[in-house]
């Protein structure tokens, strides 16, 4: 690995200053499972690494049934699926954190890091999108907030500006009669990168029979993870058992997919998978509401 300086600031403002000073030559370290590999393989040239794991705001993990989830950007995956209350409230987040890499990766890799790495195939991003997460971005001039679906702008690129970093994520408390689901297609059983990923969240009425609202998000079918807004909206008011409604949403989701063909799958296969996985994610979320 090329030489760099290692820093471990204790405060948000110290971290922002350390980042601002070096611009593109500085990068935040959380779990390191992407960053260290990128530096080692020469894909990133850094003069400074800013380890944020000593910053209290980046380590927050608190859930309250009214206030929702506050998730520090450096919190590793295992803490999320290992927390029963958080897994029950945000099943899509538990689904996705449980399938990123193997046990040793989940012991280090952070949801915030998965987001900032901005891979089109990132598993946690569709989950965060369907759960309506907000990014809290810290910088040298204080913090700003944006919806998670606007965070990634291109493969590996985010809205973060010089001197800014992702401090934490806020996820609103789940509504009554709601649930969520994330799944991906991979040719292996685990330890793989999504060929396509799909997340869904649904809110049902009190009788758990019709859909009040839904959100669908997709991974690995565009330069960034996508919020399938039109496909989501058309489900409002439809019966939860109406397979034709689910089918329509899946077809609508397919129309926004603009995948590439690569070693993991062809564009044609990926568009087909969007349909299959969208239906499974929606039905999975509906099933979870009914079982709750």
């Amino acid at each position: 690995m090329r030489a760099f300086e290692y820093t471990s600031p204790k405060t948000v403002s110290e971290a922002a200053d350390l980042l601002a000073e070096k611009g593109d030559l500085a990068r935040v370290l959380a779990g390191g499972t992407d960053l260290i590999v990128q530096v080692r393989e020469g894909k990133r040239h850094l003069e400074r690494i800013v380890d944020i794991k000593d910053i209290p705001e980046a380590n927050v993990l608190s859930y309250d049934p009214q206030a929702g989830l506050h998730l520090g950007s450096a919190v590793p995956c295992y803490k999320i699926y290992g927390d029963k209350a958080i897994s029950a409230a945000f099943p899509a987040l538990a689904d996705s954190t449980h399938i990123i890499g193997g046990t040793a990766i989940q012991g280090r890799a952070a949801v915030g890091g998965n987001l900032c790495n901005a891979s089109p195939a990132a598993d946690t991003i569709p989950a965060l999108i369907v759960l309506e997460a907000t990014c809290i971005i810290a910088g040298t001039n204080g913090t700003r907030e944006i919806p998670v679906e606007q965070f990634c702008t291109a493969p590996g690129i985010t809205v973060l500006q010089n001197g800014e970093f992702l401090e934490s994520l806020k996820v609103p408390a789940p509504k009554s009669n709601s649930s969520s689901f994330y799944l991906r297609f991979i040719p292996r059983n685990e330890m793989d990168i999504a060929v396509v990923g799909a997340g869904a969240s649904v809110v049902l009425d009190d009788a758990k029979e019709s859909i009040v609202s839904a959100r669908i998000a997709l991974a690995a079918v565009a330069p960034t993870p996508l919020f399938a807004e039109e496909a989501s909206v058309l489900l409002a008011g439809r019966a939860a058992s109406d397979e034709s409604a689910i089918e329509e949403a899946a077809e609508a989701a397919k129309t926004i997919a603009r995948p590439i063909s690569d070693m993991r799958g062809s564009a044609e296969q990926r568009v087909h998978l969007v349909g299959v996985l969208t239906k499974r994610a929606l039905n999975g979320a509906i099933q979870r509401v009914k079982e709750s």
């Binding site: 030489a3 760099f4 260290i36 690494i49 890499g101 040793a104 012991g107 280090r108 330890m191």
Partner: protein
């Protein structure tokens, strides 16, 4: 070149201090600075698990941790597994089940198995296979490894209950 970092840590229960470059991985520090060569370099990118160690109670790939990051933390490596003159029950189970061939993956599997049994003393075969998915054995001796871990779990829970 960046200044060396002075790190104070605990490895296998002993206080250790070392100097390393900021870019040195924990794996490089263990092997090259501290001569703890049990953890192996396989892929060096987090896929193979040959470098698995336990950091503050969690299984990690030591190739994906910087040496500088372990200041004030606790690391367990395969060297700390056996007591003097007595192998750990997981090591015994690996021998009894012939769960190693070339042996390169073994230290990683042993540490991964220890982390599993710390958290889940009575795993099912599915639990074991899911947990160990990040440890690759290129001799492909997985069945014996899984059997060894299940045997170790049984031995260890019997010892606890005895």
């Amino acid at each position: 070149m960046a200044d060396k970092v002075h790190v104070k840590t605990v490895i296998n229960g002993e206080a250790v201090e070392f100097l390393c470059e900021p870019r040195d991985s924990l794996l490089e520090v263990l092997r090259d600075n501290l001569m703890l060569t049990g953890a192996k370099e396989g892929c060096n990118n987090g896929n193979c698990g040959a470098c698995s160690v336990i950091l503050n109670g969690r299984l990690v790939n030591s190739c994906l941790v910087l040496g500088a990051e372990i200041e004030g933390k606790e690391v367990e490596t395969v060297e700390g597994l056996a007591e003097p003159n007595k192998l750990h029950p997981i090591q015994d189970a690996f021998l009894e089940n012939a769960a190693l061939q070339c042996g390169v993956c073994t230290p990683g599997f042993l540490m991964a198995a220890k982390a599993l049994l710390n958290e889940n003393p009575n795993p099912t075969e599915h639990d074991v296979r899911f947990w160990l998915a990040g440890n690759l054995c290129r001799c492909t001796g997985y069945d014996k490894i899984v059997r060894a871990v299940l045997d170790a779990a049984e031995t260890m829970s019997t010892e606890v209950n005895a």
